[in-house]
Symmetry: C2
């Protein structure tokens, strides 16, 4: 562990939910001393029972001695850190976050802390909360860092080593490009799929006709609606933190859909064949093994 040998043996984690708790479990196994900051006494109790960190406390003071601090609380809290928390962060500590949107986080934190590095480990399950943390969550997942011109290079190296130690694949990206990519591949599927579910209300499908649709529905409908029928709060969080990129993406999506509609309307079947072939090619490029 290169960065451990440089004195990075104490790591603080703010928030012990799915990501924070999983980090705690893995980092302890790697031999680090982990300090977990939580909000509530009930979370504290369960985090201790689950041994998500060696030290768990509701007092940010536990972070003051940490050479690396990972912000793993919900995005709204990452973006609006409390004064108490900020007061406990040593100016020499490297700070990173794990938020799923990067530009708004960087905007806030680059001003607050000179050794801040924005990052986003692309790991996750549908679980959340103090019970959700699990070992080896980050193995083989992309860990995207979004350094800017102002990013401290040594701090970036520390986060790099962190990601690699956890088995993640290191990816460097521009923060805005990251947020746009995430809007396309992670947030748009939720919107597109939720709109498909909600259109049953829009067309007034009910009674026998709704029952018929239910009887006839199969794997195509099931797969296409999966993420739209997921946790509503996660959907709201994502929309509220990546609003601009999502709205841009919806505009593009609407054009793409309108194009298919107009081809069907004018019965240009050869053109439809071309469009659907393009879709097939795009997907196979995404998921070539």
């Amino acid at each position: 562990m290169e960065f451990k040998s440089k004195g990075f043996n104490k790591i603080g984690i703010v928030g012990l939910g799915l990501i924070g708790g999983s980090l705690g479990l893995d980092l302890q196994k790697l031999g680090f001393q982990v300090f977990g900051l939580v909000h509530r006494e009930t979370t504290l109790k369960r985090a201790k029972e689950r041994q998500l960190a060696q030290v768990v406390d509701t007092d940010p003071q536990i972070l003051s001695d940490c050479s690396l601090i990972i912000l793993a609380s919900p995005l709204p809290e990452i973006i609006a850190p409390s004064k108490e928390l900020l007061n406990c962060i040593n100016p020499n500590s490297v700070v990173t976050d794990v938020g799923s949107v990067k530009a708004p986080v960087i905007k806030v934190w680059e001003k607050l802390h000179s050794k801040f590095v924005g990052s986003h480990p692309m790991a996750g399950t549908s679980a959340s909360g103090v019970e959700a943390g699990q070992s080896e969550l980050f193995k083989n997942c992309p860990w995207v860092a979004t350094p800017t011109k102002g990013t401290d290079q040594e701090a970036l190296e520390v986060v790099h080593h962190l990601a690699v130690s956890l088995g993640s694949k290191w990816v460097i990206a521009d923060a805005k490009a990251h947020d746009k990519a995430v809007a396309l591949i992670s947030h748009m599927p939720v919107i597109v799929s939720a709109a498909l579910l909600n259109m049953t209300k829009e067309i007034g499908l009910q009674g026998h006709d709704l029952e018929l649709a239910r009887i006839l529905s199969s794997s195509g409908y099931k797969d296409t609606t999966r993420v739209g029928g997921g946790n509503p709060s996660l959907g709201v969080n994502m929309a509220c933190n990546n609003t601009e990129s999502i709205l841009e993406a919806i505009n593009s999506y609407q054009l793409s859909l309108e194009r298919l509609k107009s081809i069907i309307k004018t019965k240009e079947w050869e053109e439809l064949q071309t469009e659907l072939t393009q879709a097939k090619v795009i997907r196979s490029e995404f998921f070539k093994s």
Copy 2:
């Protein structure tokens, strides 16, 4: 086999692809004499080798003695039957089809044959052609029949027994309600999902940014784009045969999407929570076990 005892022991199948071939295999096992009509000599050879029917021929004359005839060719052919075929169908034979859209089929066939019953076994794999037929394809799948006021009740009973003999769940529906339901749960997922794939062109995603999106894409994008990245010809067939219902469905979908967009634009996060909760409820009602 109730309908076998009534003399329904010879069954003709027009087309020995996925559905026709699977019917042939199962019906022979049930003790029926199966006559398979195919177009091409090469198909004839393989259908014989695979024993999809006892008699396989390219001459529709083989159907003249069948008391039940199942139209299992592609939809465009079902809708525009050849004179040669029609001349070989005995007026006393019960005729049914397995097309995935019902109103256009009924419109044509009710005029052509007094003992016609429209039906749609909701079974399928992504395979097609003479190699695709497999045993027990229809087991536990819904088999929708769409009788009209003019439908011969005895003919309907024959198709009912056919479906039940193959292990299918019998469902009676209005043809237009069927086509609308199928547009919603089977055709819209393809459109919605293809538009999501094609929007990468619309937003001009390329080079590094496209590569980033590919690296970051995970199960949500994969599932939501699955049917849109499928066989383009199937998508064209479906659009060309169920055009009206699909266009109506796209209009409703556009309203549903516009609603989500406008909520995100005006940052009404509580309203978004309500919409996404509704989506979750709709899906859980569809797939309650």
